[in-house]
Symmetry: C2
Subunit: 175 residues, 2 copies
Amino acid sequence: MESAANAIGSVPDVAARFKAALRGVASTVTVVTALDGERHHGMTATAFMSLSMEPPSLVVCINRSTLLHDILTSARRFCVNILDESQEPVSVAFSGGLHGDNRFAQGSWSRDQDGLAYLADAQANIFCSKAAAMPYGTHTLFIGEVTDVRFGESVSPLLYHNAAYCTSLPRSVHL
Amino acid sequence: MESAANAIGSVPDVAARFKAALRGVASTVTVVTALDGERHHGMTATAFMSLSMEPPSLVVCINRSTLLHDILTSARRFCVNILDESQEPVSVAFSGGLHGDNRFAQGSWSRDQDGLAYLADAQANIFCSKAAAMPYGTHTLFIGEVTDVRFGESVSPLLYHNAAYCTSLPRSVHL
């Protein structure tokens, strides 16, 4: 463990140290989808968390340089698709492995009444109406009020951790 | 899998369905600490994510009914302590198992130059200066700019998933 005093002395390296610490954080993998009337798109995202139960709401963090950000800026709705541990190929496709509409060839995608794409065999689909957007640095926090939730029986999500796809195991089994 | 049509027909249950879907999401466990001059406190939190690298920043989501929220409202700094998989007792203590200062008897806590408590043997400590606060519903999003990061060699964080403490395993090992 490096000392706090040393770290404070190397402020220019804070971003690199922050990145290194984040590598050790395990996150559930989602694909966020949105449409703005003309365009629809989806992108793999791990920066997602619940916000409140009154009203039911969540927040996703999206890089401003992405097409999904452009679409979310004008979109009224979006969907957070929680990937099951078997859906690593979907995560790969939606994080750059495939481009444009070709992405939607990977996985069982459907459209809802507005044409919003959702992954029908995901662990869960959380449909949101966009409630607020807060830009910060290179990213924007998009807040969604949850309007509908679909889920199946799987509770074994795909995780991303230490630059690898992982799964979650109860500690009593592991130890 | 229940149909979207059925779910839309039961809007009053959206919060319950959202909660059920969130049970299946695995999250890394942290203890967020803060002090406001007179009071210091810490609370277990899984609603944490990175925000941007320019500037290095993160966001935590804290219930407005908590003491930590009171302190964060007037605090200038806070620390996100990423728990190692061995630190389940710390998570339990800081999520209600112990009260007030007694919590800090669980784990190896130190204070930095300002008196801000950090868990010296955590997987990582991410020190932040509070940059913004955005209330929403029952919670507030606190944005922190990262000023210092300490971390050790462990990259095996404590996870909370499906109402149990878990650990992350590479899929190739598990399957």
